[in-house]
């Protein structure tokens, strides 16, 4: 090959590589079946656990297709007593109403199922928070407030919830649920972004149901407080706020499960406390509920 031919070949090669687009092919090669566990224990509440499966990214799937209906599930308490779970067809949940969940007690869930012809099993242990947790409504600021209301000196005001801690529990989360949420009550003039009704409907559940948390609170008895920020409410009208005191499983799942994609797009593993072939959460919590109202200016 002459020098001239070599140069032409080199330039052609550079131009070929410098143009176009590489194909990103995501297929099912990386798929590994898992048992998805969604289970929360509350003291003296009925025990209900949803068992599902995961699915390949290129699959088109409905929520009804992923429920596991013939899995084997058992909850065992600290004393070693086992409570087999049975599948409730109406609720699409595994239940055992004989199990009375006690404060401060550990429970272990063992699950096994056959998914895509693979025999899978998973196990997780949760410890239920101790008693004493409650919202202190008299000390909270939860009545009503205009959206982004300001004090006389111009400071932005927030709803605030004050509660008594459960001894030994250092993690608390709140969930705000817009009780009058629809496109007519949406707060369109907000400082974050301009939305229209279509945008609201596209992400309706995310606007309607918001949450936040505080962690590493003192494990001793006493009061803690959480601000309910103006950007936690996207609708005018009545809102329900549920405050949870959660155990380690509850905390780590909530903190890490939807933060698996980093800012540069890469993924990392969430912190899930499930051994074996399971993902999801088997946690426990105590909870209390209060209400507040976001007023509209006319």
């Amino acid at each position: 090959m002459s020098i001239k031919q070599s140069i032409i070949f080199l330039v052609a090669a550079v131009l070929v590589f410098a143009c176009g687009e590489g194909t990103v092919k995501v297929d099912s090669n990386t798929f590994q079946p898992k048992i998805v566990i969604q289970g929360y224990l509350f003291p003296h509440q009925p025990v209900e656990v949803r068992l599902m499966r995961n699915f390949p990214l290129d699959a088109t799937i409905g929520i009804g297709d992923i429920i596991l209906r013939d899995a084997r599930a058992t909850i065992t308490d600290e004393a070693g007593q086992s409570f087999p779970m049975t599948f409730d067809v109406n609720k699409q949940l595994y239940i055992n109403h004989a199990l009375d969940v006690e404060h401060g007690t550990s429970y272990t869930l063992d699950v096994s199922a056959t998914i895509d012809a693979e025999e899978l099993s998973a196990s997780s242990t949760t410890t239920v928070p101790t008693p004493g947790f409650e919202i202190l409504e008299s000390q909270s600021r939860l009545d009503s407030m205009f959206y982004r209301e300001r004090s006389q000196n111009g400071e932005l005001q927030h709803f605030e919830v004050v509660f008594n801690r459960a001894v030994g529990t250092d993690f608390y989360a709140y969930a705000v649920n817009g009780l009058e949420a629809d496109t007519s009550t949406f707060i369109y003039d907000n400082p974050f972004e301009s939305f229209d009704a279509v945008d609201v409907l596209d992400d309706f559940e995310d606007f309607k149901y918001t949450w936040s948390w505080i962690q590493d609170q003192p494990r001793t008895a006493g009061e803690s407080r959480m601000e309910v920020f103006w950007f936690s409410t996207w609708f005018y009208g009545d809102h329900e706020i549920v405050v949870y005191g959660g155990d380690r499983n509850f905390r780590d799942f909530l903190i890490s499960q939807d933060q698996v994609q980093e800012i540069d797009g890469n993924f990392h593993e969430p912190a899930l406390h499930i051994d074996g072939d399971g993902i999801g959460v088997f946690g426990s919590a105590v909870s209390d509920t209060a209400y507040f109202k976001v007023l509209r200016r006319f």
Partner: protein
């Protein structure tokens, strides 16, 4: 300790023959400067004609040829691109001749003659160059097309073994190491976050740069504190002969550099640069935030007398970013983030006697950043690094064969990271001290060999202490006049760790009870060959391992715990326990660099083959994986074409200088695609017990077990140079990613009503820019 003893014995052995020569010899020493502007010439060759006796100038332009047998000689001064000057000398017993002179620049016509005639050939330069060291000057950096303007860090990314992680970062990943493992020195001062935002600009203003050296590994005992590389940037001292200026204006920035003599005692140089995104693009496009930065350098050189020189250098820069979320809202909200570096140094160069040369430094480096939301949320952040250092480097020329080096360094570090967020605050505030001593011996027993052995001792004092001995070794062997074999290796320690954050400044944390010192071992073997003074080929193969390297724990929220509580019972975090994941790793590779530095076409072709694997606690079930920046193959082609002289060369004529000329710059990069973690599956689950509708979530597959498509990019530049009497202008057009290749950055996923969708996010598209450079 045993190693230090062995080194001492080696040193004594080398020094032994020296004393036999005492009393029968003479010494010649001095400085070599550029006649045009008085700048010290680094790496100029000074030798006795007809002998193999000679020396190179150091970073101050100083040379010394000790213990020359008495007699008459012709002393030759040579530096590529400058006229060769000869001086006749007659040395008597005990003479200590000081010969300082200035070399005039050579015209382009004669450069061809020089390199093929009466000069040190390129092969000699190749032999002198330490293994794994790269050198660039401002001219070479400016010739490489970039996004907006010439940039040092992005230029270095076109050399084998040095990679970026994406178009949006100019951080250097050297031989599998991460950017925190690079020591960035600006006039001898550490620079901790050497990037402005979004990776388009680094803190090094190319107009102010005199010389850049990057050591990719196997560096000598003189340097320490980092595992992977040393980037040593020396700014212009200033023109000692006349007032001189340079400037440029582009679509994104304007800058100027001015130099002037300070009477007869020295010189002064200063640079200033400001971007104007905020005044242009941000006004036109809603989604572009208000962002700008400015920075400036100033440097004074004082030539006190033949034995004392003082250099005072300073740098300051500030980045300002303001974001308003929804400008249409009646009640606006947003965030503000500003950050910047300040560095300063005073260097005293002192010649105790012709054989003992020393540099003493006092340096200060400070980085700080402040972040806040305006009312949106009670979140503020302050990040602060302060480093006050004292250091001294001594060079003792024991004989023609033996040069001993020794020195010290003492660093006083103050690192603060404070964050106030709803429900708690972080207040990590540490003051740490780093002490280092080093000694090395360079021995050239004959024409063929050049051997250096050294030892560095580190003592790091934090909430616990670390002591480490770091032996270093290098050897060069001249197989023939044009072929060299080289080897280098050593132990390296690092006491600072970084929390990287995309687009904004990193957070630095010192080693402590929870994060030990990091360490690495390098082993490098190389081969270099000069082809008839036209092409220089360098081939290197290396192995490098890492112990205790720390990466940010992405699940930091679940692993940290409160160290204290404030009066409201809110947690305070003052330790770094749980912030990092510890890991080990290694990199092995092969690099090939073919350079052509003279003629109508200059540039290089580089190829890098490398395999990097990390093993990080609690990540990927403890299995090894390739980090995100790992690239198996990387090809770089950089060509700078002098159009008129190319035509002349094509016609068989010699290149000449033209009053006006066209220059074309071409850069082509091809690399293996990035390692990336992709989700292995999707699932539905409710985030909290009360949420009525489950959410779509992703569960990752094997960590970085997937590769994005190969990255490739072609950048072009076209510059018209026009030289007038006393000034020149160089308007240019640069096209970044001229092929508009859609290089994948990452993959985004969504699921609507059970139907998954995948979007590939891309890096920079084609980006043309225009500007003009001028000098006067």
């Amino acid at each position: 300790m045993r190693l230090f003893f062995l080194l001492g014995a080696f040193w004594a052995f080398l020094a032994y023959p020296v004393y036999g020569q005492t009393g029968t010899s003479a010494t010649v020493s001095g400085f070599v400067y550029d006649a045009a502007n008085g700048e010290a010439l680094i790496g100029a060759n000074v030798y006795l004609e007809g002998t193999q006796i000679g020396a190179s100038t150091n970073i101050s332009g100083y040379y010394v040829i000790p213990r020359i047998p008495v007699g008459k000689y012709t002393l030759v001064f040579h530096y590529i691109g400058y006229q060769v000057i000869k001086r006749e000398i007659d040395l008597a017993v005990g003479d200590r001749e000081t010969i300082t002179l200035s070399l005039p620049a050579e015209s382009i016509e004669l450069q061809r003659v020089v390199v093929t005639g009466d000069a040190i050939p390129e092969a000699e330069k190749l032999f002198e160059k330490p293994l794994s060291k790269l050198q660039l000057n401002a001219r070479q950096i400016k010739a490489i097309p970039q996004v907006a303007e010439a940039d040092l860090l992005r230029s270095l990314q076109t050399l084998p073994g040095i990679l970026p992680v994406s178009d949006f970062s100019s951080a250097l990943y050297v031989r599998g190491g991460t950017p925190d493992q690079n020591l960035n020195l600006l006039d001898g001062t550490d620079v901790y976050n050497p990037e402005h935002a979004f990776g388009l600009f680094s803190t090094f203003n190319t107009d102010a740069i005199k010389q850049v050296e990057l050591s990719k590994g196997g560096f000598s005992a003189k340097y320490g504190g980092r595992l992977s590389s040393i980037l040593d940037v020396t700014n212009l001292d200033g023109n000692r002969e006349e007032f001189e200026g340079a400037g440029s204006i582009s679509l994104l920035s304007a800058k100027t550099t001015l130099q002037m003599p300070l009477g007869s005692v020295g010189s002064l140089s200063g640079s200033f640069r400001r971007t104007y995104f905020d005044k242009t693009i941000a006004k036109a496009i809603d989604d572009v935030p208000d962002y700008y930065f400015y920075d400036g350098n100033i440097k004074a050189f004082l030539d006190i007398n033949d034995k004392n020189k003082i250099t005072i250098s300073g740098y300051g820069g500030e980045d300002e970013l303001g974001v308003t979320f929804n400008e249409d809202a009646e009640d606006e909200a947003g965030l503000n983030y500003d950050w910047g570096n300040r560095t300063g140094s005073v260097r005293w160069t002192h010649i105790f006697n012709p054989q003992l040369f020393a540099n003493f430094w006092v340096t200060g480096s400070r980085f700080d950043s402040d972040f806040s939301f305006d009312e949106t949320i009670d979140l503020t952040e302050k990040n602060f690094v302060s480093d006050i250092s004292f250091k001294g480097d001594f060079e003792y020329h024991l004989s023609k064969q033996v040069v001993a080096g020794f020195g010290f360094e003492q660093k006083n570090l103050h690192l603060i990271f404070q964050q106030k967020f709803p429900g708690g605050r972080i207040n990590v505030d540490t003051r740490d001290k780093h002490y280092a001593l080093y000694a090395l011996t360079n021995w050239r027993p004959n024409y063929r060999w050049d051997i250096e052995a050294g030892m560095r001792f580190n003592y790091f004092d934090a909430d616990t202490t670390f002591q480490n001995w770091a032996p270093r070794f290098s050897a060069k062997y001249r197989l023939s006049d044009s072929i060299n074999l080289k080897a280098a290796g050593g132990f390296y320690y690092q006491y600072l760790h970084r929390i990287p954050r995309a687009f904004v400044a990193d957070i630095w944390v010192a080693s402590n009870k929870f994060q030990r010192e990091s360490s690495s071992r390098h082993a490098i073997v190389g081969f270099s060959k000069d082809f008839a003074n036209e092409f220089q080929l360098e081939v290197e193969t290396f192995y490098k391992d890492y112990q205790n390297i720390y990466s940010f724990n992405q699940n930091v929220g679940v692993d940290i715990s409160a160290d204290d509580f404030d009066e409201n019972g809110e947690p305070i975090y003052i330790k770094t326990k749980g912030v990092f994941n510890r890991g080990d790793g290694d990199t092995k590779g092969l690099e090939v660099l073919l350079r052509k530095e003279q003629g109508a076409i200059t540039g290089w072709v580089g190829y890098g083959l490398s395999y990097t694997k990390y093993e990080v606690d609690r990540i990927n079930q403890g299995r090894r994986f390739a980090p995100r920046h790992d690239r198996t193959h990387a090809v770089n082609v950089v060509a700078n074409i002098d159009v008129k002289n190319l035509k002349r060369v094509w016609r068989g004529e010699r290149p000449i200088e033209h009053k006006s000329n066209w220059k074309i710059g071409v850069t082509f990069i091809y690399t293996t695609g990035q390692a990336i973690t992709l989700p292995g599956s999707g699932y539905f689950i409710t985030t909290l017990p009360g949420r009525p509708v489950p959410e779509y979530q992703l569960f990752p597959s094997e960590i970085n077990g997937f590769r994005l498509p190969p990255y490739s990019r072609l950048d072009l530049s076209l510059t018209w140079e026009r030289h007038f009497r006393g000034w020149s202008m160089m308007p240019y057009l640069q096209v970044f990613n001229a092929g508009n290749r859609k290089n994948a950055w990452f993959v985004d996923y969504d699921n609507n009503n059970g139907v998954s969708s995948i979007d590939v996010e891309h890096m920079f598209p084609i980006l043309p820019t225009v500007g003009v450079n001028f000098t006067f």
